[in-house]
Amino acid sequence: MKIILNEQQLAITIQRLTHQLLENHLDLENTVLIGIQPRGIYFSDRIVQQLRSLVAPEAIHYGKLDITFYRDDVRTGLHELNKTEIPFSIENKNVILIDDVLWTGRTIRAALDALLDFGRPAKVELCVLIDRRFSRQLPIQADYVGRPIDSMITQKVMVYWTEKHGKDEVALL
């Protein structure tokens, strides 16, 4: 097992990504953040928490998206359902999709399809904590990357969060 980000590095990375988001979306005007269920939520929660100390909390529009019904592998097995909560319109908004690990790109493909059923956004960007380069199965890239890593297909990236696992850490198994 190799530790990719320890607690301190993870906190700094989240801080940096939050500032990068703000750099491109000043005051978050016309911008909404959407975390992808189930595991992207822990990461997006942290980013939103950081944002609250930097901009007026009422300027933050934060939603959660479950992509289960849009998966391309329903017939090979069922997945746990989670709640979708997008209590605002995304029509003509800049949407920032947030997930923890970008790997094959299939989750993001499903998320894009799901998103379009809620309206027509002006622009969609992708923010991920870990980018597993060279393992994409679809032409999808992230706009904001916490840490790019090279990994083999047999390896697993584990992201631990204090809320769920009792520690903040990213490891490669």
Partner: protein, 310 residues
């Protein structure tokens, strides 16, 4: 995450975990139905035939809508106007339809056990949409979903099922489900419409006095008198039935609490329930219909998932 059965033939075959899974999944589908685009691409490679050998309005429309909201392809078959009228057997009809590469069968039939018979002979997944006087599982599931939505839970709640218990598949499915989920059940109606040993068979209460049943319950599920299934007179007249067992607003107002009124439809207004009760604030009859689509989407999704071997 998977149902323990391949078909939905009846609530009888389901485990409490299955029921919980269907109801939880339906909650997510209900959210889908509130979206600007009320449709998901989940079952776009699945073809479903709706095989209706008996009349239906709500159930058929509800299933068809559920299938379309899941992006499945659908074919509708009704017995009248088909080759069934020329003497083709049920199994032949279904095998012919299946040879055109159909994945699931939603079926209503006037013979109890017809879907169970099919399940033994064909490879496709079968959803029972009502068989004779046996079961109507999706109705019981949507009733349970509606009760849970209104009261928060099923466990410990008191449900009175009122009317023609003898001929009602809705009653039987409801009894199975409510008992599995830990609710208390009272059956109310004239003695001729309540099967003799049902009290011992299901551990339910039987009450011949409507007022007493209503005073006891949290929810009253009022059933239709199924004249089409009664081949001998079981009460003297509809008017007399209505006087003794009809639910009306005056009766509801005289209770010391506000109970929830349900009805699976179609309503015979003025017989088992009066308009002032059916259309009152206490009635969740139209919510039941709305929830029916979400519950049927959940059932179809759970049965279609994981069906191709990798």
């Amino acid at each position: 995450m998977q149902l323990s059965t391949k078909h939905l033939l009846g609530i009888r075959d389901l485990q409490p975990d299955d029921i919980q899974l269907i109801l939880d999944t339906a909650t997510q589908f209900k959210e889908v139905l509130q979206r600007p685009i009320k449709k998901v691409p989940t079952l776009r490679d699945v073809t479903i035939v709706n095989l209706f050998y008996e009349n239906s309005t709500r159930t058929r429309i509800s299933f068809e809508l559920a299938e379309k909201r899941l992006s499945a392809d659908t074919i509708n078959f009704t017995a009248s106007g088909s080759s069934a009228a020329k003497g083709e057997t049920l199994l032949d009809t279904v095998n012919n339809i299946l040879s055109m590469k159909v994945d699931m069968v939603v079926m209503r039939h006037s013979a109890s056990g017809a879907p169970h018979f099919l399940a033994k002979h064909i490879p496709a997944a079968i959803v029972n949409a009502g068989d004779g006087i046996n079961e109507h599982p999706t109705q019981a599931l949507l009733d349970a979903f509606s009760i849970r939505e209104t009261l928060g839970t099923l466990a410990g709640k008191k449900i009175a099922i009122i009317g023609d218990i003898m001929h009602s598949r809705v009653a039987l499915s409801n009894i199975w489900l409510l008992k599995k989920m830990g609710a208390e059940v009272t059956l109310a109606g004239p003695p001729t419409l309540i099967p003799v040993h049902i009290r011992e068979a299901f551990d339910v209460r039987v009450e011949y006095n409507l007022r007493k049943a209503l005073e006891w319950c949290d929810v009253a599920n009022v059933l239709r008198i199924q004249l089409e299934r009664q081949n001998q007179p079981l009460f003297s007249s509809l008017r007399e039935y209505s006087l003794a067992y009809g639910v009306n607003k005056r009766l509801l107002d005289s209770l010391n609490k506000e109970i929830v009124i349900m009805h699976p439809g179609p309503i015979n207004r003025g017989v088992e329930i009066d308009s002032d009760a059916a259309d009152s604030k206490q009635s969740i009859i139209l919510h039941q219909v709305e929830n029916g689509v979400a519950v049927r989407m959940a059932v179809l999704y759970l049965l279609a998932g994981g069906t191709t071997k990798p």
